[in-house]
């Protein structure tokens, strides 16, 4: 049992939002959202990064003045030399880093850092190793069931859980936004910019299934660990991750803050989330050891 206050982490925006929208989003987060830390940076596609670089400098300052801890999240699937060099530059520049792949962990060379939801940390041994390597906060993979999360959180005081947002499910060398528009990756014309919450993918009989965001595939449903917050807190989880969608994320953060502080019931939280115009229905199947797309009834 722990009486520590659960902190809230706003994960990086996965989607290719226009820069103006991106800046507005973070300005509002800086001023209004009750989150403790904010992860910034392009995690999915390095081609989008040049548009963000300047915006990030301005945004970091604004967020820090708003009292948020700012962390720089690295690319989840770096491949080329340039991408690795960019990560290396951020590390050398002394930014607080959230590592999203093992190349970054290698480059960090033992320096203290956070770990995002893209590393395969499924058990207490892998977690202990990453802590030895300098990890001080670790967001576990979204498919882990509550039972496993509890064991890891009891073992180490560093566990963060993916608590809100479309769950990131897969990464590929291939860009599906470009492929579905009949274009190659290198000449994609940034078609992914059209989809604020990713491109909706349905089955051939029309059932919504997935969301495609460039090289990333996410679930269609929106993870909401509302029913589990109490158990996560009791197990020693230190932080909940809220992953940005195009809905009102300030309100989402307020709901999870109230929930974590015991000022709101899970049912009230879900009702509050439902009215926000989410891109899909709520789900919590992964946490319950069931198909990730499923949800517990309120």
């Amino acid at each position: 049992m722990t009486t520590e206050r659960l902190s809230l982490t706003l994960g990086p925006v996965f989607y290719n939002w226009p820069v103006a929208r991106w800046i507005d989003f973070y300005n509002r987060i800086a001023d209004e959202a009750p989150v403790d830390r904010v992860c910034l940076g392009e995690v999915v596609c390095s081609k989008r990064k040049p548009f963000l670089d300047e915006a990030i400098l301005v945004t970091v300052d604004r967020l820090e003045r708003g009292g948020k801890e700012v962390v720089y999240a690295t690319l989840a699937l770096p491949t080329g030399k340039r991408e690795i060099r960019d990560i290396s530059d951020m590390i050398q520049a002394g930014y607080a880093i959230e590592a999203n792949d093992m190349a970054t962990v290698h480059l960090l060379a033992g320096r203290e850092h956070a770990v995002g939801p893209f590393l395969n940390i499924y058990n207490e041994d892998a977690l202990a190793l990453h802590v030895r390597l300098g990890a001080s906060r670790v967001c576990l993979p979204p498919e882990l069931p509550l039972e496993s999360i509890a064991l890891l959180a009891q073992a180490r005081n560093v566990v963060e859980v993916f608590a809100f947002g479309r769950p990131p499910l897969a990464l590929s060398a291939r860009c599906y936004s470009a492929r579905s528009a009949g274009m190659a990756k290198d000449s994609c014309q940034f078609v992914c910019e059209n989809d604020r919450d990713g491109m909706e993918v349905t089955t051939i009989d029309g059932t919504p299934f997935l969301s495609v965001n460039g090289i990333q595939t996410l679930g269609y449903t929106v993870t909401a660990a509302t029913h589990q917050v109490g158990e996560l807190k009791d197990a020693g989880v230190v932080s909940l991750r809220l992953s940005p969608q195009s809905c009102d994320m300030v309100r989402v953060a307020q709901i999870f803050r109230s929930l974590a502080d015991g000022h709101m019931t899970p049912k009230e939280a879900n009702e509050g989330l439902h009215v926000l115009g989410l891109p899909g229905p709520l789900s919590d199947g992964f946490l319950r050891g069931l198909p990730g797309c499923t949800a517990e009834a309120d």
């Binding site: 041994d125 060398a173 291939r174």
Partner: protein, 330 residues
């Protein structure tokens, strides 16, 4: 090119292992009959006694045996995987194929002299990620993802040294970064990383729609076969889906990998081992594919001529691809 090339072949069962070795495999890979290996299918894999026999059989014929424990350990149950490592070492495995960094750490500390390979499920696809496993744990070989180009493989191979590289040349194609895909667990609750299965048969259903057969995984329709059309296995990432008003094989066409024409290039850039996927395939298939690839590798080593037509014929009637190796996706 002076190093010896190695043909690494699938052994789903003891009989399959004997078939592969007799057909000319330099090495076979296999796993225990539990959730420690990524081909955790009913009817496949080896119990402890069978593994001991398999090691003896393989070594008697001058071949090597690689034991895969390439899923991610379940929290609170890591002993199952560690016992697997201990037993594989005791059985005389020539190498262990591991994916979980915690298990790699355990194997290295407990069995300092055991040769370790990094599974494709660890998704080490940059010089830095490979260096992480090589420098900290003395990984001797890394199995590369199937989504790299030949140029990328060349670069990785030169940076990885003295760690060797192994690439898939034939069989199933994963288009997502291996070991980093949760599509199956999102739809069915069973995942490659945690349970060693993808789109498992237990969650596949077929519905007869009169003029067509519809295949579902976890209740999601994945493919529709017209009457008379051969019905392939419905793997989630190879299904047909709708996006932006169009229906397509959005992620990957239902094709298999056949990189035979790239063998000389891959060998010339220093790749050590060529891997054939398919522990779930039948013995006749394994025998045919292994024999053909062994002849090709022998020809490569001696400067002889490779019979590409024979190898291409292996996928006759099916659709195959050289995958990303030729950079068609960029």
């Amino acid at each position: 090119m002076t190093a010896r090339l190695e043909l690494v072949c699938p052994a789903g069962t003891p009989a399959g292992l004997r078939t592969a070795v007799e057909a000319g495999a330099h090495s076979v890979y296999c796993g225990y009959r539990d959730e420690t290996n990524a081909r955790n299918f009913p009817g496949l894999n080896f119990d402890r006694a069978e593994m001991t026999d398999a090691v003896r059989f393989t070594h008697d014929r001058g071949a090597r045996i690689l034991i895969a424990l390439n899923t991610f350990m379940r929290a609170g149950a890591t002993d199952l995987w560690k016992r697997g490592v201990d037993d594989a070492v005791a059985a005389g495995a020539d190498a262990l194929i591991l994916a979980d960094v915690g298990l790699v750490d355990y194997a290295r500390r407990t069995h300092p002299r055991q040769r370790l390979h990094l599974s494709v499920q660890a998704a080490a696809a940059t010089p830095e990620a490979i260096a992480f496993y090589r420098d900290r744990f003395g990984i001797a070989r890394v199995v590369l993802p199937r989504v790299l180009t030949v140029e990328e493989i060349a670069r990785l191979t030169s940076h990885a040294a003295p760690c060797e590289t192994e690439v898939f040349v034939f069989g199933g194609l994963c288009v997502m970064a291996e070991g980093r895909c949760m599509l199956s667990s999102y739809a069915t609750g069973k995942s490659p990383n945690m349970t060693g299965v993808c789109s498992p048969p237990s969650h596949v259903t077929y519905r007869d729609k009169g003029d067509a057969l519809v295949a579902c995984v976890g209740g999601f329709t994945v493919e529709r076969f017209e009457k008379g059309e051969p019905a392939g296995y419905p793997t989630l990432c190879k299904g047909r889906f709708a996006a932006q008003g169009a229906v397509s094989h959005l992620f990957e066409d239902p094709v298999s990998l056949n990189a035979v024409e790239l063998l000389p290039r891959l060998a010339s850039v220093g790749v050590t081992a060529f891997k054939i996927e398919g522990r779930q395939r039948g013995r006749a298939y394994v025998a045919t594919v292994v024999r053909a690839f062994r002849r090709a590798i022998d020809a490569l080593a001696t400067g002889g001529r490779i019979d590409f037509d024979e190898l291409r014929a292996l996928t006759e009637g099916q659709r195959d691809t050289v995958g990303a190796y030729k950079k068609a996706w960029r």
